[in-house]
Symmetry: D4
C-alpha cells in the first residue's frame, strides 16, 4: 500500500528535496505531491485568462487556478506536511492546515522553535510538530512501516 | 498520478476534440470523460423502457437514464470543464456546474465573453473562466505539471 | 413544525407574490425565502468593495456576494422551488437546481410546457414539475398537511 | 430568521465593536459570535489543567481548549468574517479561513490593500474582500435584507 | 429537549393513534410525525400536475411528490419507527428503513413475530424490534427519560 | 474505466446470469458484484458464532454477518440493480434501494409490470425501471459506452 | 446561545451532579445531557422486547436500545465530557470518545492521573484532560463566556 | 476485488498471525493491515520530536503520531476486526470501535465470552462477535467468497 503525502508551504528552500531524498534512501512506499514550486509561474497561473491590471484581480485569478491543484492533491493525499519558514506571511500554508483540520486529514507541521507561539493553533490540530526534514522522514518511515502487509 | 477531467456541456461543436488533441500533444496524464455525444441517442436513452407518448414522460425517462452516467462520471472526476455555447438553453450544463459547486468539485467554465453577464453566478463558483479550448489545455497542463511526483 | 421554502429563479414577474398569497390564504406553516429581488441592487451587490471597470470582475464580485445569501438560504430550507420563465438565460436558476440535487435537497420546478425539453435534466432530478404558482401552493399544502403533529 | 456571524481574527483593535455598532444601528437580525478576546486569558486557557514549563506544551494545552469554542462557533455560524491586521502572524485567522473553505462555510475577509498579495489564497476562497468594518456591515445588511420573510 | 419521532409504514390500522395515546398518557416530550395517511390522497398526490393515463407515470408523479414530505420528515426526526403489518407488500416501509440505515438514523421496527424471517435484514440494522405499540411507547419513554436535563 | 455494478435482490432465478451473459457478449467494461446466492449458506452465515435456538436471534446474527458484504459492495459500486420477483417478501431488496437513495447511489429496478403500484416509492427514487435483464444490459451498455475515454 | 454538553462515562459516582452544581452556581448557559444512570434500568432496557436467556442476547438487546439515546444525544451536543473512573472496564466510554473523534465532536476527558498511560489514545484526540469536575466546570465557563453575544 | 481488513487491538498475543495464516491457507483476496506491534516502538513513536519528562506529554506526543497510521488505515479498510484480550485496559481498541461505528465502517469483535457484559455496547454496534481467530477467518472467507466477480 502506497502512501500519498502532500508537502505544503514555502517554496523558497529545498525542504521538499530533503524529504524526497530521505524517503528514497529508506525506500519508503510514498508518493510525494506538492504545489507548483516555480514562484513566478505560480503567481502567473491565471495570466493567460482574463486581462487584468495586476493587483487584486490578477492575484484572484491566479490563486483560483492554483486552488484546483492544491485542493485536489490535498484531498487525494493520506497525510500532509505543512512547512513554515521564518520569512513571508505564509498565510496560504496556515490556510491549507485549516483545510486539513476540517477534512479530518492528518497533518504534520515543520517549523523552527521560534514560531511555536504564533503557530499554536495550527500545531494544536496537527498530529505532530517536527523541526527538521529528517524528523519528518522518520515519522513517515514509522507510519508506513511494514507492520502493514500490502 | 492521472487526472480525470469531465467535459460537460453542448454536444454540437468539436470543443471536446480540441481539448483531447491539446492534451495528447502535450502528453498530459489526463483521462477525459464526457456524456454521450450522439444527440439522438441521448434523447432516446430511455426509449427501450416504458412506452410513452413522447413529450414530458419520454424526456423524463431518458434524462434519468443519462443521469446515471453524468452523476457517476462527475463524481469520479477530479476536475470538470463546463462549456456554454451561443445556442441552446444549456440548462443541463448550468445544472452540472451547480452539482460541482455543492460537491466541492473544482470546475472551469469555457464560454465566449458575450455570455459573461448571464453566467456570472456559474462563473463565480468556478475556479477559472476560459474563452478557448487552448486556454483550457493550458490550465490542465499547469495543474498536473510535474512538480507532482507520481 | 414550520417548513422553510426557498424560491429561486427569475425576479421579473410576481410569481413569488402569488405563492405567498396562496400560502397565506391557506394559513400554511411555511416561511418563504428568496434572493434579493431588486435587480439593480443584486447586480450592484459588490460595488461598494473593490473598484472595477464593470464587466467580468464587477459581475464576479457581485455574484460572490449574492452567493452568501443564496447558498445559506438554500441550505437552511427544507424545499426549494425553481422557477423558469420564457425570457432570459436563467443559468443561475439551473445552477441552484444542481446545488439542490447534490445536497439531496428536494425541489420543485415551475415552468411552462414549452420548456419541457430543454429542462429535462433539471426536471428529472426534481420531485415535481408545476406549471402555475397555484399548483405549487397545492403541493406545499399537501406536503405540510396536518398529518404531522407539531 | 436570525443570522449567526462569527468574527475571527486579531483581538487587538476594536473592529468587532465597530461591526456590532453598525449592526445595531441598522437593527440587523444578526447574532455576533467570536473568540475570547482577552489575550492573556486566551493564552492561559489551559493553565488550570496539566502543569507545564510554559513553551510548546503550555501553548498546546491552551490552544486545544480554545479550539472547543472556535470550532463549535464556526460550525454554528452562517457566515464568518476573517480579519487580518498589519501586525502579528495571524496564522490562526488563516487557519480559520481554511476550516471555512473545507466546511463550505461562506466567509468574508477584512484587511487593508497592502495585504492583498500575501492573502491571495485566503481571499480567493472568500465570498468578498472588505477593507473597512463599515463595508462588512453593508454586506451583512444586504445579505439578510427583508426580501427574506421570517 | 423534545424528540421528533417519525412513524413510517402501513396506513391501514390505528397503530399511530395507539402510540400517540401512549405518549400523551405519559406526557412524553415527543413530537410525532408521519406520512399523509389518507390512502387515496396519497396515491393522488401528483394528480394535479401532468395528466397521465394512470399506471406507472401516475404512480411516479405521486410517489415523487410524497417523497418531499417523507425524506424531509425522516431527516428532521431523531428516531423512526417502521411498522410492518401482515398485508400488503410494504416495500416503501422497507425502503424507509434503508434510508435510515444509510443516514445513521436510529429506527425501531414494529411487527408480528410471523414476519421475523423475511424482515431479518431490516431488523438487523434496527435498534430494536417491538411487537406492540405499547412496547414502542415503553422504548420512547425510556429513551427520553428525565436523566436528560432540558 | 471499469464500472462496478451490484446486483441486489431475489436469489431464486437466473437473472444475474442473464445479465452477466449479456455484459460478456457485448464486452462491457463492467464488474458484477452480488450477495452470496446460496440461500442456505446465507441464512446460516452466523451459525458458527453464538449458539442460538434458531428464530429471531439466529436470523439477527446471520443478517448482520451478511450486511458486511452487502453494505461494503454497495458502497464500492457505481450502480446498483434491484430485482423484485413475484414471490417472497423481498424486504431486503427494498431496504437496499433505500440505502442507495440515501447514499446518492444510482440504481435501476428490475421487475414485472404487475408490481408497479406497490413499488412506486422504490421506482420513484430509481434512475430507471427495466422489465427484463436484456433491458438492463442495454442500459449498462449505453451508460458505459465509449464516449468516455479510459 | 445555549450549549449542550453530554456527560458520558461511569454512572457510579456523583461526578455529573458536581458538574451540574458548578454550572448552576456560575449560571452557565448550558444544558447537560447524559445516559440513563440507573444501572439496573440501563441493563434491562430491552427486557420488555424479545425474551432471552440473559447473557449475550439480553445484553445485545439492551445495548441497542440504549444506543438510541446515546448516539442521538451525542450528535445533538456541542461538547462531550468522557469520564473514566478507577473501576470497571468502561469500554463504552472509550467507545463514545471514538464516536466523537470520528464525528469531529470536541470532547474533554475526566480522569485521574493514574490512568494517563492506558488512556493516551483517548486523550490524544481530546481537546483537554481534566482531573476534577471543578476543572471541567472551569473549562465550560471559559468556553461559553460572554465574549459571545447571544 | 481485494478486501482490506484492519486488525485493531492488543499487541501481546499472536492473534494477527493466526488470522494471517488462515487467510493464506484459504487463499483469500485480503490485505491485512494493523498498527505497529512493537510495543516499545509504539510508545516511543514521538520521542524524536519535542523533549518531554515522560508522563502525559510524552504519551500525548506518541499517541498523536500513532494516530496518523491508525486513522488512515482504518479509513482505507473495508472491514475492521477489534480484538479484546483479558489483560490491559484496551481503551484504544474500544475507541477504534467507536471510530468505526461513527464512520459506518463495519467491524467484528474478537473476545472471550467472559467479556460479553462489559463489551455489550461495543458488540452492539458490531456486525459479529467471534471468539476465536478461526471464526474470524471463517467470516472473512464467507464475506469475500466468489459470488463476487472481480
Amino acid at each position: 500500500m502506497k502512501w500519498r503525502v502532500y508537502l505544503s508551504g514555502e517554496i523558497h528552500t529545498d525542504w521538499r528535496e530533503q524529504i524526497a531524498q530521505g524517503c528514497a534512501e529508506r525506500n519508503l512506499p510514498i508518493t510525494l505531491l506538492g504545489p507548483v514550486t516555480d514562484h513566478a509561474a505560480s503567481d502567473a497561473a491565471g495570466d493567460g485568462l482574463v486581462a487584468t491590471d495586476g493587483g487584486f484581480w490578477r492575484d484572484q485569478q491566479s490563486a483560483r487556478v492554483n486552488q484546483i491543484r492544491t485542493r485536489t492533491l490535498i484531498e487525494k493525499s493520506d497525510l500532509v506536511v505543512v512547512r513554515f519558514g521564518e520569512q513571508y506571511r505564509q498565510w496560504n500554508a496556515a490556510f491549507d492546515a485549516g483545510l486539513c483540520a476540517a477534512l479530518g486529514k492528518p497533518y504534520i507541521t515543520l517549523h523552527d522553535e521560534s514560531l511555536v507561539h504564533p503557530l499554536k493553533e495550527v500545531d494544536a490540530a496537527a498530529q505532530a510538530w517536527a523541526q527538521t526534514p529528517q524528523q519528518v522522514v522518520q515519522l513517515l518511515a514509522y507510519t508506513c512501516s511494514s507492520a502493514c502487509a500490502d
